[in-house]
Amino acid sequence: MDEKETAFLEEIQSRFQVTGRIQRRQRIWISIDKENLNTVNQWLKKQGFDHLSAISVTDLLDQGVYEITYHVWSYTKKILVTVKTRIDRKNPIIASTVPIWKENAQIHERELHELFGVNFQGNPDLSPLFLEDWQGPPPFTKDFNWREYVQKKCYDKKNERETAYYE
């Protein structure tokens, strides 16, 4: 049933050092280390995967890593390949994919730089996108607890109408 996905996964595994699996029809997930990431990405773009759907960062606090995922779709083969890689959380630096997917990748990386603090080397413009004069830590990291921040800043425990916010 999933013949073309199996054939494609075997072709990737014969060329690069990846671990991969097929989740269901039209979905392939592969993991690779940080140094060989862009060789895989460039090969995928040459095979017809020219639509970058999203780039996302997951914060794994207990393991001390950020996991970055690139989801790419091909209009000709109709398969979605997700490429995952891991980088160190205290010093998050990775090479940018702007030379491959151009403006599409540039805007996704700019948003992730503001919200998670990841430094994409090679991106021409990493200025703040959504927030103006924000002095705190990168907002979406797991050690920034929003409920404590809001309870300290905006609400007052002694006010009996606002005790519900402290539960």
Binding site: L131, E132, G136, P139, W146, R147, Y149, V150, C154, Y155, Y165
Partner: protein
């Protein structure tokens, strides 16, 4: 019968219809634009939407505010001429609503602007908007 002072009676003769400056954020768009549309036509009451705060009587804040957009709303409020009224529409505007634990939304709007009238709801129906506009004439102290 409400007792009105002489100044209020004179103002009541002059102000027959109110002109609105719409500072709508997301939720306000979906429920204020039908108020302009043809089913709940607001032009028959004399209310129109104007493009500049200098012409307006009422500032409609219709949607949750963030740290970035409240600064612009304050500047617009300062440019309006007296007598001016601020109406807050929707529950996310007044109290933070569903986004009470977000780091970027404004939770207590009356610490930033002096609000005259609150319209609760998520989002409120167009009939509620009309009732609020009618109550302005009767109960608002600023018009005295």
């Amino acid at each position: 019968m409400v007792k009105r002072s002489k100044k209020a009676k004179n103002m009541r003769k002059i102000i027959k219809s109110i002109w609105i400056f719409n500072w709508f954020n997301s939720c306000g768009f979906a429920e204020l634009v039908p108020v302009v549309g043809s089913r709940w036509d607001m032009e028959r009451f004399g209310m129109i939407i104007v493009g500049t705060p200098r012409h307006a009587d009422v500032l409609f804040i219709a949607g949750y505010q963030t740290l970035k957009s409240i600064k612009r709303a304050q500047r617009i409020y300062e440019q309006m001429a007296e007598p001016r009224v601020v109406i807050a529409l929707g529950s996310c505007t007044m109290t933070g609503g569903m986004y009470w634990d977000s780091y970027n939304t404004i939770k207590k709007l009356d610490e930033y602007l002096p609000i005259t009238m609150y319209i609760p709801g998520c989002p409120p129906r167009p009939e509620a908007v009309f009732e609020a506009c009618e109550k302005i004439f009767e109960h608002v102290k600023e018009l005295e």
